[in-house]
Every structure is written in C-alpha cells, then in structure tokens.
Amino acid sequence: MEKVGILIEVKADQIKKANYGVITAARGRDRQLYAFLLDGGRADHKLTLGRYGIHKIIEIAGQEGPLEWNPATWAQAVIEAMEYFGIRTLLGLTSSQGKDLLPRIAARLDAPLVMDCIHLNLAEHTVRKPQYSGKTIATLKVQGGHCIYGVRPNAIAAQPAPCEAETVIYRTAPAPAGLTVKAIKQAMSAGVDLSEAEIIIAGGRGMENGENFKILFECAALMGAAVGASRAAVDADWVPYAMQVGQTGVTVSPKVYIACGISGSVQHFAGMKTAGLIVAINQDLTAAIIGKCDYAIVADLFEIVPRLTRKLQALDGRI
C-alpha cells in the first residue's frame, strides 16, 4: 500500500474547493491518501474529505495547540509528519501558500518538485505542466526518494469517491525557523481569491479608469467571482498589482473568465489561457481576444456589464 500525502488548504474553516481536484489526482489503486491539515482543528472535515477519498486526516499541531502560520515551521512540521507516517509522495496546490510550502519541503528533502501540474500519473512518475507562459506543455519524469507535486488550482476536475476518513492528531515541536511572522496585513478589499476563483471578471484598458472597476466588483459580488485586471490597467495605476492576471501577474484557471475591455496580449493569455470558458466583451472586433475566446460580445462593456449585474440581481431575488 503506497501512502500519498496531500497538503490541504483551508480558508475561514472551510476546505478550499481546489483541494478536491488534487485529491482526485492523487487517488489510485493500492493507494492510501493522507490529508495534512494545519488549521488548528477548528472544524471537522471528515465528511467533506472522506467524500473525495481521503483515508486519514492528519491534524498537525504544536505541543500546546495549533501551529501559528510560519512557512518555515509549517514546512518542517509537514516533513516530520511525512517521516512519521512513512509518506514519500506529497501533493499540494500551486497557490500562494503552496508556492511557499512545497518548495521549502522539497528543498529540505532534496526531493524533485514539479509545480503547476495540470496532469499527473503517479504510477509512472510523470506529470504535465505548461511552460514558456503556457505556449508549450512539458511532460516531466521525476525520480527520487521523495517526490513533490504542486497542482495548478482547478486544472484537474474534482470527482467524488466516498470512503470513511479517520482523523489522527500529530503533535510536533518544530525547531525555531529563523524567520518570524510579525503580522499579516489584509488587503483593502478582501474579495474572492483570484487564483482559486471559479469565475473571474477582469478589466483592461477599455475600463478607462480605476473608478469604473466598481461595475466589475458589483457584478462579481453576485456571482461569487473574483475581479482581475490586465497589465494595462495595473500599469495605469487603476487597480493594484495583486489583481494582475498574466505572464507577470497571477496565473488563473477558473471555470469562466470574462474579459472586459481587454485586448488579449500574449502575456495576458499566458495567465488565463487554461480557463474553462473565456468570454470576451470588447468593442473592438479586431482585438486579439475576439478570435481566441469561446464567446465574443462585440459591444460596449459599459452597456453589457451593468445589464448583466441587473439580471443577476433579479435571479438573486433582489429586484
């Protein structure tokens, strides 16, 4: 029986949906799935994780309670848990947190690591991932005593496979990390996280100014969507860099990407081309995005987006 560990991410006591795709990718014959949680055990995830095939939930905690967020101690604690349970394969998300934990773990174990996987074959030790800003797909083979994989959020569809999950508490006292987390500064507008959103509505040069992004936020709130932006909008200082989707911004894979007034440069596509469905709203018929999306709406976004918002409000019973 091969044991596979999955580093689960939790937000506001909820398992982030994107984890289920990772669990789906990890499943296989004669494989036992271990979910590593470091959320302090505030909620019971037995049912939700069991539904996707997790056998053991390992609640990693300190000797006297939850481990406060610290990427170095968390990484160390996961390594200790892997050793303790005899786990040599670890999967996680290529999210902000995953990008800080998985490479720390891989580096400490001197293990190969592939981030941003969109397809995994654990039996063969092969994975596929986009390279060169999504212009090519690479197939990699990894070899090593331990193997670590980061999965691109939402790139692998989640499929339930119910089983009975058991919770085990693993206590550890990781050595001092050499770095101290002093504070976490929350963003001004705490919306849905871009890299995990199922729907993203993004604005570009066609938004004309920062003020106009308001209409995207209004629309997004009704769909549970995150709001993104093109580099043009960020360079113009209309919205903060954290909202930038693209080559030098966030890479996203939502189910639906609605691009408003975005011309669709190669660099922008690099960040969103794996979206399930791309809808482009652009007045300019010759904009690159019009030929490279699934649905094109050649019209004024200031006509379309507020109408969409009103329709969604009506569906929501607010009108």
Partner: protein, 256 residues
C-alpha cells in the same frame, strides 16, 4: 557586504515558441533577463547605493548567450558577473547546486536575491534549494524589503492581496516579486561601462558538484493547442446578456 543576484536568460514573453527536438525549443528567438530578476537586481543595487560598502555580483547558469543577460544586470548596476557555462541546462536540483558552489567559491554571501519565478520553466524552487544548501533562511514573492543592521523585514505577497510581514536575519535568500520596486533601466553610458566589467566564466563540469540522487527530466515538449473557436453573441445588449446568463448557467454551471 556581498550581495549575489541569480538571474536567468529566458525567451522574451512575446516570443513565438517552437518545439525543435523532443524536449528543446528553437532558440533563434529574442531572449531577455527574466522579468522578476530585474526586481532582484534593482533591490540589490539600491542596497548598495544606500550602504556604500556592498558588492553586487550577478550569477547565471546557461549557454554562452546568457552573457547578454549578465551584461544587462551589470548595466543595471551590478559590479561583476559569474557565468556558469553549460550547453545542456540541467534541472532545478543541479542548477541550485551549481549556483551554490559557484557562490561559495567566489565569496561570502550576506544576501542572495533571485526572482520569485522564472517565466520559462516556472519551477518556483531555486531560491529555496539555495537556502537549504547554504543553510540560510528564505522568503519569496517579496513585495517590500528593509534592512537594518543584520535584521531584515520583508513583506511577502499572500493570497487575495494580503501581505505577511516577516522578520529574518542575515544571511538570507530573497525571492523578488514584481511589486518589490520599479526597476530603473540603464542609460547608454551605463551599458557602455558594463561592457568593461568583469565576467568570470566557469564550466559547469569544473564545479565538480555532488550529483543528486533525485531528478526531474523533461521527456517531451509539445506546443499548447489553442482549440478555442470564437462564437460571437449577437443581438441587442439585452439579448446578448440573456445568452450570456444561459451560458453561465447551463454550459459552465457556475451560477444557479
């Protein structure tokens, strides 16, 4: 103090990528310095300007053409460069070992900067491996950096625009994010000066690095297929929005 900055020579983001051999791309395209490495160089040079006693050394591993990117780093203010030459760029494990050995042979790093990721292979890991090999602390995706004595305070970009304020001490490895600074580009006089700065060339083989037992090899590269067939939604604004709602609900199933 010595500040090392690891930079990478990568295809321009706008370049057309063609797969040549099974796991190689056509390299007769425009290459640039990895964009995040520009932020790394910029921050190192700012420290040097503030303190006066720092030396900034740019390090890269690659083919001879990677010297162009080293020269760019020198023009942006680095003092000298180290070019680890190889015709066959290795995986992250070997790359990190090579950088580690080259840096250790060269001097005593107080800070090592890298970009938070390279835009070609997007491995996200070299800075962590360097830190592990050199037994240093490491933070990445850094959006703010302050140095006071031996104490470093950084802000790391987290999800949803949040930032973690983290304190660590020298020596350390820092993965620079885009928000860290706005790189100031070199003028022609600076570029001309950079042509005369020292670049040490070392063959990868001559570093005699310890071969890792683990590895990650690229078996195959394939062009990504762009299979989208755009369909235009037509009609009045009202009709178009109605169609869009239907698509969101029935096709994508993202709204109820």
């Amino acid at each position: 103090m010595q500040i090392y900055v690891c930079v990478k020579h990568v295809p321009d983001t706008a370049a057309k990528i063609t797969v040549k051999a099974p796991n190689q791309i056509e390299e007769a395209i425009t290459f640039i310095m990895n964009p995040y490495d520009e932020n790394a160089i910029e921050e190192a040079v700012r420290i040097k300007k503030r303190r006066g006693d720092a030396e900034v050394i740019a390090v890269t591993l690659g083919k001879p053409a990677a010297e162009n990117t080293l020269r760019s780093a020198l023009a942006m203010g680095a003092d000298r460069g180290i070019l680890i030459l190889t015709e066959d760029p290795p995986d992250s494990l070997v790359t990190a070992r090579a950088l580690t050995v080259a840096i250790e042979q060269d001097g005593t790093p107080d800070i090592i900067f890298t970009g938070k990721e390279s835009i070609d292979n997007a491995g996200f890991q070299t800075m962590y491996r360097l830190a592990a090999a050199l037994d240093m602390t490491v933070v990445s995706n850094v959006a703010a950096f302050a140095l006071e004595g031996k104490r470093v305070v950084v802000e790391c970009q987290m999800e949803g625009g949040a930032r973690g304020v983290i304190e660590l001490s020298l020596p350390c490895v820092i993965g620079a994010g885009k928000g860290l600074n706005k790189p100031s580009y070199p003028t022609l006089p600076a570029i001309m000066q950079a042509r005369r700065k020292e670049v040490k060339r070392i063959a990868l083989d001559s570093l005699r690095i310890e071969k890792p037992s683990a590895r990650a090899d690229i078996l195959e590269l394939k062009p990504a297929v762009e299979a989208r067939r755009a369909q235009q939604l037509k009609g009045s604004a009202e009709e178009v929005v109605r169609q869009l709602i239907r698509i969101l609900r029935e096709e994508a199933r993202v709204i109820e």
